[in-house]
């Protein structure tokens, strides 16, 4: 039965964060049930205050084989990293 149900990716916004974070995946017949199942599988211990679900089939990912081409050139350009700025204490959620 479960093999007929599509896979959904679950994103939870935690108590203290602003962003939804990927926590895992589950099977459900539709979005409504996916949210209910996500509540039961992933938020029983006060983990979150908001749930997003998306069909796994609708998520497009970069290919692991392209990793070098996509990401490695950034490493040798130190001026791209904002490490030379002191961060004021007032700035939150960074």
């Amino acid at each position: 039965m479960s093999s007929e149900w599509p896979l959904w990716e679950v994103f939870i916004r935690s108590q203290h964060g602003l962003a939804h974070k990927h926590v895992g995946s589950l099977h459900a017949p539709d979005a409504e049930m996916a949210i209910k199942n996500a509540r039961d599988v992933y938020t029983r211990r006060n983990e979150g205050i908001s749930i997003w679900v998306a069909r796994s089939a609708d998520i497009h990912a970069s290919s692991p084989g392209d990793r070098a081409a996509l990401f490695e050139p950034a490493n040798d350009k130190v001026y791209r990293h904002p490490t030379f700025f002191p961060m004021p204490d007032e700035v939150k959620h960074i």
Binding site: M1, H27, A28, P29, K36, V41, R44
Partner: protein
């Protein structure tokens, strides 16, 4: 010198708290039987979560029941004593909740009929003049609002699903319907507590329950059985300790360990 008169007669209050607690305890045990056997992993977890909610509520009711019994004299008992060292005739749960799991339609139908009643009852109990009861009800009703949503959703999905799922859901409602009358049958125990402003008047919940249940079953294309026969009414049901054969077997499994090893600790 006499002690101040208690707000409610202890025997009635204790009995009423056992009714509330035993419903949760027995239904939680039934839902626990699905662990590892659910139709899909997600349902396995979800129905167990509902069971754990009900078990948590049962602990609060039974702890209070044990305190009320202790105040009226020995024997001193704890929530665990009440759960594990009473026989079926001493249990006060509704006949509905002790019915076997059957297939998933049976389990969902049982949950649906109970949840729809449970949420109304707890809503009334939040207004109880007994602050402890009102407090427990306020905590429990938040959980039960989710149970209501979930079981109604499944009744609609199965009832209005395939021909096979429709047939099974209709058979489940047909089989369990006769146990619903007991939920609204008020006996002398409840009457005394209703008059004291402590218990909820279950009979007054019936019209609201009927219309909510009807609305969901209509959407699920499920018919309410025409036969008006009801089990357990007339003060001869689970609330008075007269149970179906299924409760003893459930208790045998639930109580086996503490009865074999009374001092067992985790």
């Amino acid at each position: 010198m006499t002690a101040p008169k208690p707000a409610a007669p202890a025997a009635e209050l204790s009995d009423y708290l056992l009714r509330l607690g035993d419903n949760g305890l027995v239904l939680a045990q039934r839902l626990g039987e699905w662990v590892g056997k659910g139709p899909v992993l997600e349902e396995d977890i979800a129905s167990t979560n509902v069971g754990l909610d009900l078990l948590g509520q049962a602990r609060l009711w039974l702890t209070y029941a044990a305190e009320v019994q202790a105040n009226s004299g020995p024997p001193l008992r704890s929530e665990d004593d009440l759960a594990f060292f009473r026989d079926s005739a001493e249990f006060r749960n509704l006949l509905l909740v002790e019915q076997p799991n059957g297939d998933y339609a049976d389990t969902i139908a049982r949950q649906f009929l109970f949840d729809q009643w449970h949420v109304l009852l707890l809503g009334q109990l939040t207004l109880s003049r007994d602050e402890r009861i009102a407090g427990i009800a306020a905590k429990a009703v938040k959980e039960v609002r989710y149970h209501v949503e979930r079981s109604a959703d499944w009744v609609i999905r199965l009832g209005d699903g395939t021909a096979a799922s429709h047939e099974r859901m209709q058979a489940a409602i047909d089989a369990l319907w006769m146990y619903t009358g007991e939920m609204f049958a008020v006996d002398a125990t409840e009457r005394a507590l209703i008059d004291a402003g402590i218990a909820a008047d279950a009979a007054a919940l019936q019209p609201t329950w009927q219309s909510s249940v009807q609305a969901v079953l209509d959407e699920a294309t499920i018919a309410i059985p025409a036969d008006p026969f009801m089990q357990g009414t007339g003060s001869r049901g689970g609330k008075q300790g007269i149970h179906t054969e299924h409760l003893s077997r459930l208790l045998a499994e639930m109580q086996a360990l503490p009865r074999s090893f009374p001092d067992a600790r985790w």
